[in-house]
Symmetry: C2
Subunit: 334 residues, 2 copies
């Protein structure tokens, strides 16, 4: 017989954990705020290869494991249109960018996950700027509409009987058998010492307009004179991200960051210049010291599921499975 | 004895006309939409010198006449804080921009309205980018917070007994003694053939943040490699404008326009890079073929007050006086 779980946090991690636990028969309550968190701003790329970098073998391994779960069940019961791309194309602008690209591609190959290099990137994606030639494709990577996915997970939770409750400021006030701390950068307020800190990122939403070139159909990631930028298709436009810097809990989109993103996006795909600039926002990624998520047991009735950094959406299925495993272990003891 | 007036349009022109007519004892109704028009987006500069250009002597003359009215009574009874700057500094970035600047300054001098040239613009405005030296000051020009001013005029109208009514789609349905068409780009829908067409302009609102350099205290206008840009102080930040192009009734802020404004603003005042990008919008200026406003009598009970182009705020007092004069003439006949 299962007991009760309080999941604290209503972003993609909390919802994925809640849905999985409810499927396993737990009585689940999700405590959430009405404010938008990192899941609202996120680009929604599921891109372990594209995010790869030498030395980050553990991130690659869990990212690939989680991407498999996306392909094998995590999307079951969710509307098909939450998935907005089924491939990534990673390109380089200048020679130093090409060198970085090759570094990543070689490393992925050494790790046993080769990608397909090209020197004719514009044949794959004709919307790329002239002069962009080098790239690789990652043909199992996905992108999801972050807001549509969160809504769909909320609906799935509701359908499974998950209850919704206000946010929690004190763990002691939560009388569920098990508490899962899944509230991103706010986790240390509930569990002092939990090593998560906010890393700010500006993200723009561009909207297609009549007369514009057609929407890209795959995720395009690029290095532009050393700066990374990504372009993620949506039903009505493109999400452009993301800057990355530490500035406390500041979520104001700053002129400098917006300029960099617009410049880099247009350097990669000039046709975006004619899109509407529909939204500028900034999110706070819950970053851990080593870049690996903090998912596991804190004490006999408290679990952590935070510290996902840039990869909350990618790692949501993996996290839900890990927490489900912990819960199965706890079940004997509660 | 005065009769009734219907003012169609609740922007700065309609409100200025309505207030003036109510002060003269007319029974005034303002017909307005709930949608934001050009007055919501405007920069709020009152800048006939800075807007000057050889050949536009008539615009200069009415602009200067209207600026005098701003200084002599139009602001009476309005909160002091609607005025956000009391001087303009016009600067040039490259040599061609300097040549343009001198052209304007010489022409203003020939017109009998000399401005003060400087080659040490940064001594006047230390926030200017290094390398910007040439400029002139226009020390009678003002800037107003467009939204605060519109609110203040609405309040003044209400205090004078002006009534508010829904928008009008057919002049024949308006049974007031006199109708004043003051609804900007929508005027031709009420009076076919009225030569007003929309000219789009993107305008950005930047918000000061903790740690930023202090707000500029005067309007700064510049040519940046031939492109005009203006920076207008507000209580909480800076308004950056404005692109200018014809694109029908489209009010979507477009990536290309926003990029140009951000690039030019930061080229003139680099510290703006640290401000929050709080709002991107686009307005539709009601432009006439010759750039002069269409203010006057259309028939024995219909007046026009539109076609103010970029200068609706500047020309509001002049327009209100002109319409008041027309009304005085009509009074004998109604």
């Amino acid at each position: 017989m299962s007991g009760s779980i309080a999941v604290i946090g209503g972003g993609v991690i909390g919802l994925a954990v809640a849905r999985r636990a409810a499927q396993d028969g737990w009585s689940v309550t999700v405590h959430r705020t009405q404010e938008h968190g990192a899941s609202w701003v996120a680009g929604g790329m599921l891109a372990p290869h594209s995010e790869g970098w030498p030395g980050e073998a553990d991130q690659l391994a869990i990212g690939l494991e989680s991407l498999k779960l996306w392909h094998a069940g995590f999307l079951d019961g969710l509307p098909a249109e939450v998935v907005t791309a089924h491939e990534s194309l990673v390109v380089a602008v200048d020679r130093a960018d090409v060198a970085d690209l090759k570094t990543v591609a070689n490393w992925l190959s050494e790790q046993g996950h080769p990608v397909t290099m090209t020197t004719a990137a514009r044949e794959i994606e004709p919307l790329l700027a002239q002069g962009i030639r080098h790239g690789f494709t990652a043909d199992t990577e996905l992108a999801v509409d972050n807001r549509a996915l969160v809504s769909a997970l909320e609906q799935a939770c509701t359908d499974l009987g998950v209850r919704w409750a206000p946010p929690v400021t004190d763990l002691a006030a939560v009388d569920a058998d098990v508490r899962v701390i899944a509230n991103g950068i706010d986790a240390p307020a509930l569990w002092p010492g939990l090593a998560v800190h906010p890393v700010k990122g500006e993200v723009l939403r561009l909207r297609w307009r009549k007369g514009c070139m057609p929407l890209p159909r795959r995720v395009v990631r690029a290095r532009v004179h050393g700066r990374p930028v990504y372009l993620v298709p949506r039903g009505d436009g493109v999400v452009v991200g993301a800057t990355q810097y530490e500035h406390g809990r500041d979520t104001a989109p700053v002129v400098r960051g917006v300029r960099d993103l617009l410049d880099d996006a247009c350097a990669v795909m000039p046709a975006l210049g004619e899109y509407e600039l529909a939204e500028c926002a900034a999110g706070l990624r819950p970053m851990s010291p080593d870049g690996l998520p903090l998912v596991g047991r804190l004490d006999e009735r408290t679990l952590a599921a935070t510290g996902h950094g840039r990869n909350g959406f990618l790692l949501a299925p993996w996290t839900a499975e890990r927490i489900a495993g912990e819960l199965a272990g706890l079940r004997g003891t509660t």
